[in-house]
């Protein structure tokens, strides 16, 4: 188990990760995931917590075949750079599809899944992944 794994850390992030919360910059109009304190694009502090759209498209994707610790049992899996409907970009796994059938630009929607376990007797870390729109 990676030393970075901790229970408080998982708990602290739950709303953001379960419900896709981000921030919207009132100065430059860009949205970000995860929520920020300063806008990474224009540096403004004038940010508002928002719920991000759960639909988007795949920009680029890859298949992870040599996974890091705690992810071995899931390999191989697809990770993608995804652009949500409002332009916000984030990184997430893509599921329920074979890599050969996946195409850049494909429309996807968020689904609630397990990302990893902190060992067989530890907490389960959930989050949002994406799958081709039903």
């Amino acid at each position: 188990m990676v030393k970075a794994a901790s229970v408080p850390r998982v708990w602290r992030d739950r709303e953001v990760k379960y419900r896709l919360l981000g921030t919207y910059c009132k100065s430059c109009g860009k949205s970000h995931y995860p929520p920020r304190i300063y806008c990474p694009h224009c540096g403004s502090k004038d940010l508002e917590l928002v719920k991000l759209p759960e639909e988007g498209k795949i920009l680029h994707f890859t298949v992870i075949r040599a996974p890091p610790t705690d992810f071995e049992e899931y390999a191989p899996y697809i990770v993608a750079l995804i652009e949500l409907k409002n332009g916000t970009r984030l990184m997430a796994q893509v599921v329920d599809v074979r890599a050969e059938e996946l195409k850049e630009g494909m429309e996807v929607e968020a689904v609630f899944r397990k990302y990893r376990e902190q060992g067989p007797d530890g907490v389960i870390e959930y989050g949002l992944k994406f799958r081709p729109k039903l």
């Binding site: 990474p40 040599a66 850049e104």
Partner: protein, 392 residues
Amino acid sequence: MVDTRKVYVLGIGATPIGEHWDESLRTLMTKAATSAIEDASIERKDVDAIFVGNMSSGPLQGQEHLGSLLATWLGIPGVAACKVEAACASGGAAFHQGFLGVASGVYDCVLVVGVEKMTDAITRDITAALIMADDQDYVAFTGVSFVGLNALVYKAYMDKYAVEQEDIALFAVHDHKQAVNNELAQYRRPVTLSAVMSSPLIADPIHLLECAPIGDGSASVVLCSEEFLKKYGGRDVLIEVSASIVATDKLSLYDRDDITTLSASVKASRKAYKIAKIEPKDVDVLEVHDAFTILGVIHLEDLGFARKGEGWRLLKDGELEIDGKIPTNTMGGLKARGHPVGATGVYQVFDVVKQLRGEAGKNQVDSPEVGVTQSVGGVGGTVVVNVFRRVR
């Protein structure tokens, strides 16, 4: 910027790179440091400050506080010392701190050491340590590996510029060819393009032989001021650090507009060239941080040696060779010389200085005067660009 003092490279030293079962983190860095001090022809007690570049001693070795550790093991406790970390650019960042130490006038003689001990850990733990170069909570959380991040860049590049993977994968072939004559290199045998393209996929489309290997090693450099030189004389050849600049970019790919360019490379290099009063065409020897073949190609573009989308042409046309327009990674680069992560930024300085001194043996470039090194942390989250000039 105020006027700073001139900084010179007085000595260099390095261990071979490989799976050093008999060497520990501390023995590696002590050996490299000793070697640089001897090369500089100074006493250990002449060192005013030590900067140790290292990325993952904590996660992989359970060891921090490398500055004090090295000072103790070198038998010179008392000197100023600290660990410097900037992910895979830790070596470059430590070098930059060393440069600042001398340029600012605070120290006269600085020892820079880059070190990484990776092979005590198993592959998946190393993979987990390397992704710490990106965001733990929102990127590492997805299970993406560092190779995976670069795979996204690779795809974006091939899509945007309509480039074939073979033309990029060639970078590995180039590096291996150069490493044949580098006795410190981890891999000293050539590889063919077909071997690279048929090696197993690690994160589509990146093949195993397109990735810098895992290895142990340490490289070290002694930097000094003009005053210090007057005391010691130094050697016949004098290498000046004409510029050392650091820039950052948004940490994660999802915050960037165009992932086919590392804006930190562009920023750092332009500023460094300006201070050193050079242009890309003046550069005689270049070290780029090719952790993956795609990065090698992108760096050539971002550092000003090719237009965006055309870096692969330099490679294909043989311009990166010893006798080419821009000899690059002449001692094997990250792919074949090796990439003990935090040490690499210093190995690059070692290799460039060897060239400028005329000590590169079979890989010697004809009378080089200006050398540039580029050390990259994460996928360009930090970039360090150093310019070296042979002044005598």
